[in-house]
């Protein structure tokens, strides 16, 4: 084996290692945004109101300045600003003592330059102040665009034709 073959093999391995471990592809970046959103939507049992408010604001930061939300089963069909989104998230979290969020079957498709669409099943479990557990499972279609501050959700729809799902 000559030195050029060895060098080539090393470069190839280094390239693959970089791609798999260091390079943040758009898909990886979008998946990270979903992870951030889940983390900030969640609420621990002893979370202070200040932390909850801070997490609501950070969760809202993954959305574009104006995000179109279309969830007909809850009569939500409107454009929401980041500030309004933070208020809605805070109001939602304040209703519960604890909230957990889990994604299933998250798929990301790049639809154009700096645009992507993601499909996901979202499971939310929440414990109300009266101690009851509420569970919701729903599929969403999320449209994202890449901005200077990273990927932002600019539209969210529920997918299935429904009265509820």
């Amino acid at each position: 084996m000559n030195k050029w073959t060895v060098t080539g093999a090393i470069v190839l391995v280094a390239g693959l290692a970089y791609y798999f471990f260091a390079y943040d592809s758009p898909e990886k970046q979008i998946r990270k945004q979903f992870a951030v959103l889940a983390e900030k939507l969640e609420k621990q049992a002893e979370e202070s109101p200040l932390i909850t408010a801070g997490k609501a604001k950070t969760a809202a930061d993954v959305f574009a300045y104006i995000c179109t939300v279309d969830i007909p089963e809850y009569d939500i069909q409107k454009k929401i600003t980041t500030k309004e989104m933070a208020r809605h998230i805070l109001a939602f979290k304040s209703r519960f003592v604890a909230v957990s969020v889990k994604y299933y079957d998250l798929s990301v498709e790049l639809t154009g330059e700096n645009r992507a669409v993601a499909a996901v099943t979202l499971e939310t479990r929440a414990i109300s102040t009266s101690g009851e557990t509420e569970k919701d499972i729903r599929e969403f279609e999320c449209f994202l665009e890449k901005t200077e501050d990273g990927w932002k959700f600019y539209q969210i729809n529920t997918v299935l034709e429904s009265t509820v799902f």
Partner: protein, 119 residues
């Protein structure tokens, strides 16, 4: 889907169930969401072209009341008449005692039906 299927129970999805036939009214089917990790178990109550409505918990299909023997719990659902689109079926669970807003039901494309429960 209670009482037909126990909430939280275990079953297998029989994917070949609709290999040679189309889903029909009354069938219990598994409906996928974004992928196949989460599936809903529902009953088809109407197929494409049908109209349906609920009045005080009773199902009206194409204008006629349907006796649903699998529905065992009392229900007070009211739902205005609607038509099932081409390529869709209308699915509902058997447990209609829960409030409508917390029950997953509605029109779903046939392509989202993965199969049916094995037993």
């Amino acid at each position: 889907m209670e009482p037909t299927y126990k909430d939280g129970g275990f079953n297998f999805c029989f994917k070949q169930r609709y290999f040679f036939s189309e889903p029909k009214r009354g069938d219990v089917v598994t409906v996928r969401l974004a992928g196949e990790k989460v599936m809903l178990l529902k009953r088809i109550i109407a197929v494409e072209g049908d109209t349906l409505a609920f009045e005080d918990g009773k199902l009206y299909l194409n204008g006629e009341q349907v006796d649903e023997e699998y529905v065992k719990y009392p229900s007070d659902w009211d739902l205005a008449e609607r038509s099932v689109k081409k390529g869709y079926v209308y699915v509902v669970g058997d447990n209609r005692s829960v409030p409508m807003y917390s029950h997953h039901f509605g029109q779903t494309p046939l392509k989202r039906i993965v199969g049916g429960p094995l037993w």
